[in-house]
């Protein structure tokens, strides 16, 4: 399987309340072993998945948000976040986790994985993909 396809995982739901976000992340981690060109998109309530300071203790649920910071180690380095979805929820980039990856083509310099794009820009990102999996 030498063919490389562009995979986009679209995250539209809040991190807790339903299992979609958690099971989407499980797909991303397994999929990373297939050496494809992977991107993630966060829009609608999906932008809440990336917020800092998540505390699920009282809810009795597993807090899986630290996993996003490990994605760089799996060579998953493009996390597109929709500006309008942030705006509509009163969020800014500062409310999101600082997620970085080491760029092996640039002396392993640490670079931000989160790329904020407009709604129109997100449409372009989606149009550019071979496989879109929506969660």
């Amino acid at each position: 399987m030498s063919e490389v396809k562009k995979f986009l995982y679209v995250n539209r739901k809040a991190p807790y309340g339903t299992i979609y976000a958690q099971e989407a992340l499980e797909v991303v981690l397994i999929g990373a072993a297939f050496d494809q060109d992977v991107s993630l998109a966060f829009l609608d309530d999906g932008v809440f998945q990336l917020t800092k300071g998540q505390d699920t203790k009282d809810a009795g649920l597993k807090n899986f948000s630290p996993t996003f910071r490990a994605l760089g180690d799996y060579e998953v380095t493009k996390l597109y976040v929709e500006q309008e979805s942030l705006d509509e929820r009163g969020l800014t980039l500062d409310d999101l986790q600082d997620i970085q990856y080491e760029d092996e083509d640039d002396d392993y310099e640490e670079k931000p994985s989160i790329i904020v794009v407009s709604r129109a820009g997100m449409a372009d990102v989606m149009a550019d993909q071979d496989v879109v999996l929506s969660f």
Binding site: K5, Y20, E23, V27, G31, A33, F34, V131, L133, S134
Partner: protein
């Protein structure tokens, strides 16, 4: 065209598995190929053979099993999602020390890698969800 199909919602609560079934049937009838159907999230519940819908309703699992038999379809249930939701084949039941299996004929349990592989090999991957 070679299609890969994802079913990501459970039977009866959501129409997703019905729509996927109708799509697959129509695609096959018009000469297309369906390389795999991958059941994820609550979609794994389509594969239990213990479902008993009312007699005047459709039997979703039996529809899929019959279609799989007729066209040698590959119906794959995600193992991670299945374990959470109590979907087991005999292998898994033995391995996990459970006293029964409930997987229906024509379905098999396998890993998420099968979803990615399907995406790579199919011309189009279509998700039937909420």
């Amino acid at each position: 065209m070679k299609f890969g199909i994802v079913v990501s919602e459970g039977p009866y609560t959501h129409q997703a598995s019905d729509s996927a079934y109708n799509f697959v049937k129509a695609a096959l009838a018009t000469g297309h190929e369906v390389s795999r159907v991958f059941f994820y999230h609550d979609g794994v519940n389509v594969g239990t053979r213990l479902s008993i819908p009312p007699q005047d309703d459709r039997q979703i699992q039996e529809q899929w099993s019959a279609l799989a038999k007729e066209h040698e379809l590959d119906l794959v249930i995600c193992i991670a999602a299945a374990q959470r939701r109590g979907l087991l084949d005999q292998n898994e039941a033995d391995r996990q020390g459970k006293d029964a299996n409930n997987i229906a004929e024509g379905f098999r349990i396998s890993g998420l890698g099968q979803l990615i592989e399907m995406g790579i090999q199919a011309d189009r991957t279509i998700t039937f969800g909420d």
